[in-house]
Symmetry: C2
Subunit: 297 residues, 2 copies
């Protein structure tokens, strides 16, 4: 069953004549006759009754006709609408993000993307950095949001912004009333920190180590939200990205956020794509939306 055979079949059914169908299709009559016969063999039954004066559909032909029309229409549509499908971002688009960014950046970015590209089937994956990098390299993801450092031959890294850290302390803590706080002031305070399986946990540990800041870690969590909860209970102070502080909403009982005095520790927000791939329309907008979410968020 070939497309041109279906086209010939439809033409013959509509004209009721092999000869006129051949004219319409711009081929010789024997060619069309042959192809119709071949189609009949391929479906295993006659499609036309040969009447001597033209042809008429059999039951099988009557049944095939609407399907043949549908197939040909789909092919025509595919050709005609391919360009606008590209504009509309048609197709599956798979994004990933690390857990310490996903809840703060993805909802807004994905929502914006869905309205901009209503026909894109966007799927989301939340995972640790190295697994995201591997997924992008393997083509399982089209885009991922993570933080430097990323090093993979096949992965292209684009920095879309950076983000300062803030300090969060329990309400009533001696530091709670201050406008801002120096990193050194945190020395030896009981600290709630993020597990170092997260790149953010490693980054914060790195900042502290760089400042030779001894820490008294009283708890390690795997989620920022858990850490914030423990801070509210007075178990210690913590350092979190500002997007987490903003997402925490209106001033909450139990914990107070403080800016760093002077240059704050920062992390970069980067968008990962597979190296060597042509820039994707949806992917480019995704990166922009992540940047907006970061700046406005």
């Amino acid at each position: 069953m070939e497309l041109h055979q279906l086209a010939y079949f439809v033409a013959a059914a509509e004209t009721g004549s092999i000869t006129r169908a051949a004219e319409r299709c711009g081929v010789a009559q024997p060619s069309l006759s042959q192809q119709v016969q071949r189609l009949e063999r391929s479906v295993g039954g006659r499609l036309f009754d040969r009447l001597g004066r033209g042809v008429a559909l059999t039951d099988a032909g009557r049944a095939l006709l609407p399907r043949a029309r549908a197939i040909l229409a789909e092919v025509r549509d595919a050709r005609a609408h391919l360009h606008e499908d590209v504009e509309a971002g048609e197709g599956e688009f798979r994004v990933g993000a690390i857990p310490t960014m996903a809840p703060f950046l993805l909802p807004r970015a994905v929502a914006a993307l869905r309205t901009e590209f209503p026909r894109a089937a966007i799927t989301v994956r939340e995972d640790l950095t190295d697994r995201l990098v591997q997924a992008v390299a393997d083509g399982e993801l089209d885009c991922a949001v993570a933080s430097s450092p990323i090093d993979h031959e096949r992965v292209e890294v684009r920095t879309v912004g950076e983000e300062p850290m803030v300090v969060v302390v329990p309400a009533g803590h001696p530091l709670a009333g201050a406008d801002d706080v120096a990193l050194a002031a945190l020395r030896d305070l009981p600290t709630v920190t993020l597990h170092e399986m997260h790149c953010l946990g490693r980054q914060i540990a790195g900042f502290c180590a760089a400042k030779r800041l001894g820490r008294s870690v009283v708890c390690r969590t795997t989620q920022i939200g858990t850490a914030l909860g423990l801070v509210s209970l007075g178990m210690g102070v913590s350092i979190v990205p500002r997007m987490a502080a903003r997402a925490d909403g209106a001033p909450r009982a139990g914990r107070v956020y403080l800016e760093f005095r002077g240059p704050a520790p920062r992390r970069e927000v980067t968008v990962l794509t597979r190296a060597g791939r042509a820039p994707s329309r949806v992917g480019l907008r995704f990166a922009e939306r992540i940047r907006e979410a970061l700046e406005e968020g």
Copy 2:
């Protein structure tokens, strides 16, 4: 854009590799590579980024993928479901009937056919005999209901039954109280008759001529219903097919139906199909349904 090219494209998109796609499709790698390139030229844009290690969809490829899948699925469905489509009577089925039979036979027959072949797209045409015959001969109609005589080389005539005529007289007419009436009793009575453009009109005129029955035609109508109305007004008597009498429902004020005494004039009910065509499943059932409607109606 050919079906096998689309199949190759989908395989390459799903495996992310020309080589593995070729394995899956059972062709050599260069063949698949070539066909993908041909498809790319035919749609006017690259569908894959060649990464050295496999391939990845471009925006255009992403957009084409769902359409290609849809087209291939339709083709698979067409092959798989063609047989059951034939059983279900899938496709357009066009029937015709003459005006003096259509309202009494078609509704019941078509309704039955619609439940039996829910996927058949049945269309109905009401027209005079010779036009129906021509339409069947030209393949514009798959089936038609008419009455003998039909004579056309390309039209096959099947008699599904016959139907007696009855007499209808105004209420209060001298004949109204009789159980039955002889044809001769109608001699010279004022008569309302059907226009001879209808075969029924010609048939009735033929009966009367055969019995040498002079008639005093006071009115000629083009519809049986009109004739019945005029009879109720007392303008004359008329001869109508029994199906019309039955359809007239419960005893109506104004007119009374009488059987003929002895052998009644009759007309045949025939189903017309195009000669040389294989018997159609729906067509065969249609003829049966007409027969049923005639017997039960």
